[in-house]
């Protein structure tokens, strides 16, 4: 969740959606994202909406604390029920992210999930994920989550190398995330993800390969690998500006990405989104696929974004302001945008092109189609799928996806 909120129009105080947003909803899957805006410490590269204080005071003295956070968030789930009215859909996916969700008691996470089950019902095969910090879970915690209905867990491993973790300000010790995978498996989790970051200043090719090997060795069914983005305003950005750590070159990022593809595919992982690999169809993150395929999801929590039927909205960022809004019965929504047909087309192109299935060529206009033919000639799109009417990125194309999108949306 990027730290800056976009510009948009105000959200009505009861959070009501235009009728158009709910039209045809039954045909779209519905998911929930639950944001937990707390961390033990802030990592130097992080610009997410998260806070290290355990208590934050909102308007009118409303207290937003880690301890009552689950109750506040449950208020928003109930609000969602009201806003979606008689929408009959069961929830297909739930994803708890942060921040550090596992800073909350496992019981809190289970209660939040329970509220969704109560208000909406969970589909029988629902995917229920939480992000977890390797240092803040143990087998008992994991067992409690599993018993409470969580069936997927995502650990922030980032790197297997101590000096890389240090630059990232990650506090866990190397080896811990890999043991977490085993503990999660032991607790009965079907699906386990490890998040990796490449291109950290000071990371060598060899460091990266070691991280990939360690991750694979731990036996997850899903790996996400992200190029380190140095966001403005972060501690890391300041350190780079001061020359304390070097900036990683884009070419290095490209090399590391190629290495990730090579090592992961050799280990039986297949890419299904630019930064995501899974060992099987079933290992894919269904919740993330909702984002990429234009489905509906309700994002609850400070700064969380939602999308329902062409309306995108986002909540106020500060936990205090968030809690105060809900305490007074108002929506915590800070702003929204109603997408035009063209906006939705553009979003589909930019999101679906990142996927293994690619974009149907029928979605492109004349100039975009011409651009797609050039991209094909330039080796950025795959021949086979193109003949079948889809623009699917080649490996080189994946590294230049944004450039291809810029041409294809014309």
């Amino acid at each position: 969740m990027p730290s800056a909120l976009p510009d948009g129009e105000p959200v009505p105080s009861d959070g009501a959606l235009p009728a158009s947003a709910l039209a045809g909803a039954a045909d779209r899957p519905l998911g929930f994202y639950l944001h937990v805006p707390y961390c033990a410490t802030r990592c130097g590269y992080c610009d997410f909406n998260t806070y290290t204080a355990t208590e934050l005071r909102g308007t009118g003295g409303v207290l937003a604390s880690r301890d009552n956070y689950a109750d506040t968030l449950i208020d928003e789930v109930r609000l969602a029920r009201k806003v979606l009215g008689d929408d009959p859909r069961e929830v297909r996916t739930v994803f708890v992210g942060g921040g550090t969700p596992t800073l909350l008691a496992a019981g809190d996470l289970v209660r939040m999930l329970g509220a969704i089950r109560e208000e909406f019902g969970l589909a029988p095969d629902a995917e229920v994920t939480t992000e977890a910090n390797p240092e803040s879970v143990d087998p008992a915690y994991l067992a409690e989550l599993r018993a409470g209905g969580f069936n997927r867990i995502s650990f922030g491993m980032q790197s297997a190398r101590q000096h890389v973790l240090k630059v990232l300000d990650r506090t866990h010790t190397p080896g811990r995330p890999e043991r977490c995978v085993a503990e999660a498996r032991g607790a009965g989790f079907d699906h386990v993800n490890l998040d990796l970051i490449y291109g950290t200043p000071g990371e060598s090719d060899e460091d990266w390969r070691a991280s990939l090997d360690a991750a694979i060795g731990a036996g997850p069914d899903h790996v996400s690998a992200y190029a380190l983005i140095v966001e403005e305003g972060t501690q890391l950005a300041r350190r780079i500006r001061r020359g304390e750590v070097p900036m990683t070159d884009d070419d290095v990022h490209a090399d590391r990405y190629l290495m990730a593809e090579e090592v992961l595919s050799a280990a039986g992982f297949a890419w299904y989104e630019v930064s995501n690999w899974a060992t099987s169809e079933a290992g894919r993150c269904l919740h993330n696929e909702l984002y990429w395929r234009g489905a509906d999801w309700w994002g609850a929590g400070p700064g969380a974004h939602s999308h329902v039927g062409g309306v995108r909205w986002w909540n106020v960022k500060h936990p205090g302001a968030y809690a105060a809004a809900l305490a007074s019965g108002r929506t915590p929504g800070a702003g929204r945008e109603l997408l035009s047909e063209e906006d939705r087309r553009v979003e589909r192109v930019l999101l679906e092109l990142r996927l293994r299935e690619g974009v149907p060529l029928s979605l492109l206009k004349q100039d975009g189609l011409a651009a797609s033919r050039r991209a094909l000639t330039d080796g950025l799109l795959q021949e086979g799928p193109y003949a079948g009417g889809r623009a699917v990125l080649t490996l080189r194309g994946r590294l230049l996806a944004d450039a291809v999108v810029r041409d294809l949306v014309d």
């Binding site: 976009p6 992200y226 990022h253 984002y291 979003e347 330039d378 590294l399 230049l400």
Partner: protein, 622 residues
């Protein structure tokens, strides 16, 4: 409180014996406008309460940059202190203070019998002032040397009085010391103007002959022409004739400025004033031309008329191609007021549609560009200024090149470039570095004179092209800002000049072609190619950047193909941000100029071409 004296002679009925026509020669910042302000006040033509600083500088740009571009004339009545009953008419003709406008200065001087040489008592004389002083001496003007700002703590009146006395050929005690700011000594100066500057002499009964020394376009009144009557008389409502073109006009209004326009019955021998004929374009009323009556007019024009000749050319292109019609309209409007401004449409493969514009010099270029941007709201890219080359081919044919990209291919016999005589004044400690700079710019030393113990005048012949290219910046930095520069065209010379082309991915970028001396070509090529490598973003393919003379590549860099252009994360909250980023990137893409298949940001053009802009803007501050 001074007031306008009684018995002020009226225009057309003023005895030439009572008239004094003078101008003020001064360096920028030496206080000319402030002195003019004091004179307006002391003679009572501007009431105290209407007074504002630099009353006569009309254009915003003039006031802001402290430079006077267009000259004007003000009629000031003055009763000398020793002869209160005898009111004289002082016509103060304001001269432009810059090298680009030497011709206009020379015409202003030709309208005067004397000049005040105004020098800052803390700084001493500067190169342009010296150049204009020589011009005044050639015109046989009476020179009244004056040191200004004597109230400043840093003033060194004795030292600089000595310097002025040496230059003018008088005693140091003859140098007046004033403070235009406080008014100290200004009355004495006006008395001295009456006492020392000769009255104009002309033939009263001869056919009218008046010299145009300025011509200004006014959006309400059309062209206002400033003249000095030499012989005879011009009367209101008569028909007049411009002797260079033979065109005749009805005189809608004739009058004087004090300082606002005031209609009169006419202008007689020695008088200075304005004419309005209803023409809309200053090119129909050219500086230096002679005005006479249509009926029984003069047959022989006054000497000295010249057509202004552009010395420096630059391509002006709108940043946004759709502004092209606005640019044309703006140039048309500026030309109404600027007979020296010439332009014709040109097309650049890299920059689109624009104009090749000819200027008198770098300040002229800078002023025009700034006015286009400020008064007309245009965003422009200007190509590096270049001079005019004459290329003689082996087959004897000849090309005049005003745009480097049009430099002819094929067998060239000789290339001629304009040269100037440059005068540099500076403290003696900088002689070495100035000579070094001039040598590297292909200069030939003409001579050197000491103005005083620690100040020197150095004269060089230099190719104009070398001055156009950041010379002034270099001079200023090598002399810690102490040197001043003046130059005048003196002709042309043959030189070993070559055209350096810049190629992007094999395509010539016309806007970057330059004509340089063959010894400087390599350095130019290397510098530009390196700069472009920094400025052009990586593309989907590898882009070679080459500098070449003809087909010979003299410098090469490569922009590696971009390998990564993808955002790592794209989840729920990233989507809006990503779509907005995409919209922004697409806007940015629109601002890219395509050179062949390479996208070049406009900023790259501006940055590369601006290495010469800095020289241009520095000129204005001179």
């Amino acid at each position: 409180m001074p007031a306008t004296p009684n018995n002020v002679p009226e225009p057309s009925r003023t005895d030439p014996a009572l008239i004094r026509n003078f101008c003020i020669i001064a360096h920028i910042d030496h206080g000319k406008s402030t002195l003019a302000d004091r004179m307006l006040q002391l003679t009572g033509v501007v009431e105290q309460r209407q007074m504002r600083a630099q009353y006569l500088d009309r254009m915003d740009i003039e006031r802001e940059r402290g430079i006077t571009i267009k000259s004007q004339a003000v009629r000031l009545p003055w009763a000398p202190t020793h002869d209160k009953g005898n009111t004289h008419i002082l016509n103060m003709i304001d001269t432009p203070g810059h090298v680009d406008f030497t011709y206009e200065v020379s015409r202003s001087l030709a309208a005067c019998e004397g000049t005040i040489l105004l020098v800052d008592a803390a700084q001493g004389i500067e190169a342009q002032t010296l150049a204009n002083l020589y011009l005044a001496m050639e015109n046989d003007l009476t020179i009244i040397p004056v040191l200004n700002k004597i109230d400043l703590p840093a003033a060194q009146p004795e030292k600089f009085a000595e310097e002025l006395a040496n230059l003018v050929g008088c005693e140091p005690d003859d140098v007046l010391k004033v403070s235009a700011k406080t008014g100290l000594g200004v009355e004495a100066l006006l008395d001295k103007v009456v006492a020392e500057i000769p009255a104009p002499v002309g033939v009263k009964d001869a056919p009218a002959r008046a010299m145009i020394f300025d011509s200004v376009y006014d959006s309400y009144r059309g062209v206002v022409t400033y003249v000095r009557v030499i012989d005879g008389q011009l009367n209101k409502r008569e028909r007049i004739r411009m002797m260079s073109t033979g065109a005749t006009h009805e005189l809608l209004e004739i009058g004087t400025n004090s300082p606002e326009m005031l209609a009169a019955d006419g202008l007689g021998v020695g008088e200075v004033g304005y004419l309005i004929t209803g023409v809309k374009d200053v090119r129909q009323s050219k500086v230096g031309d002679t005005v006479t009556s249509q009926a029984k007019g003069a047959t022989e024009a006054l000497g000295g008329y010249k057509d202004p000749k552009p010395m420096v050319f630059s391509g002006l292109y709108p940043l946004d191609g759709s502004d092209y019609p606005e640019l044309r309209e703006a140039l048309d409007k500026l030309q109404l007021n600027d007979a020296a401004l010439v332009y014709e449409p040109e097309t650049s493969a890299a920059l689109g549609f624009g104009f090749r514009v000819g200027f008198l010099g770098l300040l002229h270029l800078d002023v025009i560009r700034e006015r286009l941007e400020r008064e007309f709201g245009l965003d422009l890219i200007a190509t590096a200024p270049n001079v005019v080359y004459r290329v003689v081919m082996e087959d004897g044919s000849e090309h005049v090149v005003t745009n480097p990209s049009e430099f002819p291919e094929g067998k060239i016999n000789e290339v001629y470039e304009p040269v100037v005589r440059a005068t540099i004044l500076a403290p003696t400690e900088f002689i070495g570095s100035i000579m070094e700079l001039c040598q590297t710019r292909r200069g030939t030393l003409l001579g050197m004179d000491y103005l005083s113990e620690d100040r020197v005048e150095i004269r060089y012949t230099l190719p104009l092209a070398e001055i156009v290219f950041d010379f002034f910046d270099q001079l200023k930095s090598k002399t810690r800002g102490y040197a001043s520069l003046d130059y005048e065209p003196t002709g042309e010379q043959t030189s070993s000049l070559v055209k350096v082309d810049i190629l992007l991915h094999g395509d010539k970028v016309d806007a970057f072609s330059a004509i340089t001396h063959k010894d400087a070509a390599y350095a130019y090529g290397v510098r530009l190619v390196a700069k472009l490598r920094e400025l052009i973003p990586r593309q989907a393919f590898e882009v070679p950047i080459q500098a070449a003379i003809g087909s010979r590549v003299i410098a090469r860099e490569t922009i590696r193909a971009i390998r990564k252009d993808v955002l790592a994360k794209c989840y729920g909250g990233d989507i809006s941000r990503k779509r907005k980023l995409l919209e922004k990137q697409k806007e940015g893409k629109k601002r890219m100029k395509m050179v062949g298949s390479v996208e070049v940001p406009q900023e790259a053009f501006i940055a590369v071409l601006s290495s010469d802009d800095s020289a241009g803007s520095a000129k204005g501050k001179k």
